[in-house]
Symmetry: C2
Subunit: 247 residues, 2 copies
């Protein structure tokens, strides 16, 4: 926020010194696009007017709307990635390990709490930056190849972070690196749907949060069961699955 | 295709008799929108010109582009739903049941083949109607509230069909109706990503198909393991999960 007052210095390219004009343009574009407009359909004058700026200032900060979109995506994804890693590494630093050398029931319990924390952070962050997220998720499949690629990269980056933490600090050593990668990418992609549900159905937030948590757990349990089935199908059928009959 | 030749009869509303003009407009709009344009940004004249029609004919068939988009969504989702149900019900009619009263290894094997068939149908259908799917998936999070709602409904309808078949004809009676519903919605949503990957990375199609199949299997196995863990955590930890150590 406390930026140098170089607004009049006319740095022509984005990536130059930031002024609050830049932030205002980003916020205005997200606000205008978050309703029923695409980023590509916004007019320069309209965004500048909404930001209370002279239209000429736009090009001091951005080359075009893709450039502005990229700046928003980078800013928010940087924040989100940092927050997510902290939430996962905190319990690890406190000694939490999700390896299976001990009590499985206990491990599951701990896993649930890490999942709960991480999901809560994602959903809180999304609720806090609602407009930018709606636009970002729209652009994930949208008309701009630049933003589409940027959004896919954000999802991949977040999934790779997750895989690294799960395998590394959290010591989930009962799945292979490939399995952890697989699960991480599935989780992050599905979270785009949970996020939008969360924004659009405020009265359902607790339920949506619980669905997301359970989704993550299902994948880890499924991967575990899959390993087991591959190693010993007979062993699997030895388990009394019918002990919880359908109601 | 063999429609009545009422093109000159000027039925003013969509939903009226179909002519090939209607189909041509739908195809042209999808073609123009599938590259880097949003459906909302298309011009009437441009679409009519591409279809080789007089622009005036547009309003004989559609109220606006939302109306045209809805027609495409309905046509394709109808086809896809019908095909999917047939693929799932065929093995059931042949006597296949996925209940767990017998050999679990065998059930898993059969489940895999139903999953493989269904996924193949979705991906084939998407490859065949590439442009319409790209536009449809874009509109799922897009700027038109009408199409957004229509696309969400398509996903929900397909998920409900899946749940009905899994629970009904395929006799997956070892999960509750709520669990089958849950899994079905997760699968259908995730398939939007697999579908786009499938279209965008033709050289990876076998791998993407396998990832999608495995995703479905992980969810069913995860739900099974989750039941087991809830019923008897001690029983779960009795399983030798470490028998497949990480490499």
């Amino acid at each position: 926020m406390a930026k140098k007052t170089t607004k009049r210095a006319k740095p022509r390219k984005s990536g130059g010194p930031l002024g609050s004009g830049r932030e205002k343009l980003m916020a205005s574009a997200m606000h205008l696009a978050a309703t029923t407009r695409s980023l590509a359909s916004l007019g320069l004058r309209e965004v500048a007017r909404h930001a209370g700026l002279n239209p000429n200032t736009f090009y001091r900060h951005f080359r075009d709307f893709d450039d502005l979109g990229l700046a928003v995506v980078e800013e928010l994804s940087g924040e989100l990635r940092k927050g997510l890693r902290e939430r996962r590494l905190q319990p690890a630093a406190g000694g939490l390990r999700l390896s299976l050398d001990g009590d499985l029931a206990n491990t599951l319990q701990l896993a649930r709490s890490v999942i709960r924390e991480s999901i809560a952070l994602v959903l809180d962050s999304i609720a806090e930056h609602r407009e930018a997220y709606v636009v970002g998720i729209r652009e994930m499949h949208g008309t701009s190849p630049v933003l589409r690629k940027a959004m896919r990269k954000v999802l991949d980056d977040i999934a790779n972070d997750m895989a690294e933490d799960v395998q590394g600090a959290l010591r989930v050593d009962w799945l292979s690196p490939a399995e952890v990668q697989e699960i991480s990418h599935l989780v992050i992609r599905q979270m785009t749907f949970f996020s939008l549900d969360y924004l659009e159905q405020p009265e359902q937030r607790d339920a949506i949060r619980a669905q997301a948590e359970r989704f993550v757990l299902l994948l880890f349990l499924g991967a575990l069961a899959s390993r087991l089935a591959a190693a010993s199908p007979a062993g699997l059928s030895g388990i009394r699955l019918n002990q919880s009959p359908p109601t």
